[in-house]
């Protein structure tokens, strides 16, 4: 059984969010990049666990990004991917990215495609669903548990106010979130081994884009906190009731 894990690079969670070129571009100077936490902690680690349990034979990684994505992909290989494909393109359009991934997925005949629930920068939560539609495969979104039973996947996913257990015949596309697996730290052996694992760079196929980012804005600054004395919590309740009118 072969698994394809989609990996995206995102700014570190503590990165300062600012924009350049007349607010049309993310100001990437000095920003530390990480593997998108959902892709790493949940999608990739669950794939590694399946391979460790001999349920999967190979884990391939795919990313859409330029050469500056290579350190992120090497880290994912150090954690436990077998080989990686980088599609040499830079895009913020979900349809374009999904189309590139789908063409790789089609060629590789994967039994399972894992994505993270969303990226923490563009928060689209769209790639998994789009890839599934492009491949005409079922899609289980926001999965918190994933196990295999023969050629069926048993998946628990989050729904409004609870969760749902479902069963689906492979191949399937799954978006992963908390609960799937626990974060791991790459070890020395993994880091050394990652250097010699194949990282194939392919040029993007000609695909449409549906959207483009016109500009960015930052939210207006908060007016500042109104502090109430710890001796007078009744005043807080009064303010919430009469001023903020939220209780």
């Amino acid at each position: 059984m072969k698994i394809l894990v989609c990996i995206s690079k995102t700014p570190d969670t503590t990165a300062k969010i600012a924009f350049a070129d007349n607010n049309t571009k993310f100001a990437a100077d000095g920003v530390q990049w990480i593997i998108n936490p959902y892709d790493e902690w949940y999608a990739l680690v669950r794939a590694i666990e399946l391979k460790e349990a001999d349920a999967a034979t190979a884990i391939h990684l795919v990313t859409v990004g330029l050469a500056d994505t290579d350190p992120i992909i090497r880290k994912a290989l150090a954690l436990g991917g077998d080989e990686a494909i980088r599609i040499n393109a830079d895009s913020h359009d979900s349809y374009y990215i999904a189309s590139q991934i789908a063409s790789i997925a089609k060629e590789g005949n994967y039994d399972l495609v894992f994505t993270g629930k969303e990226t923490i920068d563009y928060n689209g939560s769209s790639i998994g669903g789009m890839v599934a539609e492009l491949l005409d495969l079922p899609y289980v979104s926001l999965a918190t548990k994933f196990t295999l039973e023969g050629t069926n996947a048993i998946i628990i996913r989050e729904i409004e106010g609870g969760e749902e257990t479902c069963k689906v015949q492979l191949p399937v596309v799954v978006s992963c979130q908390k609960g799937m697996a626990e974060q791991r730290i790459p070890n020395m052996k993994g880091i050394m081994g990652a250097r010699s694992k194949p990282l194939k760079v392919v040029e993007p196929a000609a695909m449409d884009t549906f959207t483009s980012i016109a500009s960015f804005d930052l939210p207006p600054a908060k007016a500042g906190v109104k502090l109430v004395s710890a001796d007078n919590p009744e005043e807080l309740v009064r303010l919430l009731h009469e001023e903020a009118k939220v209780i």
Binding site: Y122, S125, E133, Y139, S141, I159, G162, L227, E234, R238
Partner: protein, 321 residues
């Protein structure tokens, strides 16, 4: 031409986030001078004519129990058929669990650009530009949709709807239902509580509360305010509270009217999930806690002393003694 709004149901009732989507879709329809129509799949108990109050003129239904569980493939096919049948140029979803499952598939199916997580009406003065949340609530992107059909999924709690007394016409939409490849074998729901993603008031606790035995301070206030409870990530990780309560960058992102944070430091990753809340209250014994910078109201004090007094004051306000 029209705007088509997908109305989501849970347990045979239309969800609150779908009424928001209805109001939002109707406002877009008015802006571009077309009709607002909606589609409901599965069997619902609501009187669908009341959707007229939100500006919807027609509600298309496919009453079939097979559609009470959402299968993204099955739903995509039906919504695409309906969109084509009524000539929809804009399709609106709520950016909730089901919206996230269906909207991306529909985008591919209809070759329609998707903006997920919209927070305002589109700017249609030149082109079609939608403001959405990016960088986990720390910024907005204005995204231009460049395709003939546009799909928008609206973030819950980001659009306030005005209602009228109009009534909608309800019509059965004739379609074929394909077999779901994903079989739901069981569901497990927290009953009687408003789901965190839809809650208007959220009371949340952090590691400052020292242990699960002290959570009565959170749950009692929540109960008095009709609020849903949440927690910081370490609290869920240590197992003091269930995982589904974890809010933040790697948990659920929420935007309630009131977020009440007790003993939470306000780390940047926590704020990423709650910074869209309309009013934030922070109770923390450390005046330097970063959360105070993001708060509207705060008390610097020991939660174990302050919270019982707050609970008493709320009881007094509500006339409970």
């Amino acid at each position: 031409m029209s705007v088509l709004i997908f109305l989501d149901q849970a347990d045979n009732n239309i969800k609150k986030s779908s009424f928001e989507a209805a109001g939002y879709g109707a406002a877009i329809a008015k802006q571009i001078g077309v009709a607002a129509e909606a589609i409901v799949l599965g069997t619902v108990n609501d009187d669908l004519t009341t959707l007229g109050q939100y500006g919807v003129t027609k509600v298309h239904t496919v009453k079939n129990d097979a559609l009470n569980n959402v299968d993204a493939q099955v739903f995509t096919k039906i919504i695409a058929d309906a969109a084509t049948a009524i000539g929809a140029t804009v399709i609106v979803f709520s950016n909730n669990f089901n919206g996230k499952a269906i909207a991306p598939r529909l985008s591919v199916r209809l070759k329609a650009g998707l903006v997920s997580g919209a927070v305002a009406l589109p700017d249609t003065t030149s082109g079609f530009i939608v403001k959405k949340n990016v960088f986990s609530g720390k910024a907005f992107a204005n995204v231009s949709i460049n395709t003939a059909i546009k799909i928008i999924s609206l973030n819950p709690n980001s659009f306030s709807v005005a209602t009228t007394s109009a009534m909608a016409e309800v019509i059965e939409f004739a379609t074929t239902i394909t077999d779901a490849k994903v079989k739901v074998t069981s569901t497990d729901k927290v009953v009687g509580e408003v789901p965190l993603s839809e809650a208007e008031i959220v009371v949340s606790g952090g590691r400052g509360l020292k242990g699960p035995e002290n959570w009565g301070l959170v749950t009692e206030l929540a109960k008095l305010l009709g609020a849903t409870t949440a927690c910081s990530r370490p609290v869920a990780d240590i197992g003091w509270r269930p995982h589904h309560e974890h809010v933040g960058q790697t948990g659920l992102a929420i935007a309630p009217n009131l977020y009440f944070a007790i003993g939470i430091s306000g780390a940047i990753q926590h704020l990423a999930g709650v910074n869209r809340s309309k009013t934030i209250v922070v109770i923390n014994k450390d005046s330097e806690a970063p959360f105070f910078k993001a708060a509207d109201y705060g008390i610097v004090g020991d939660a174990f002393e302050v919270m019982p007094k707050i609970i008493d004051a709320v009881k007094k306000m509500k006339g409970i003694s």
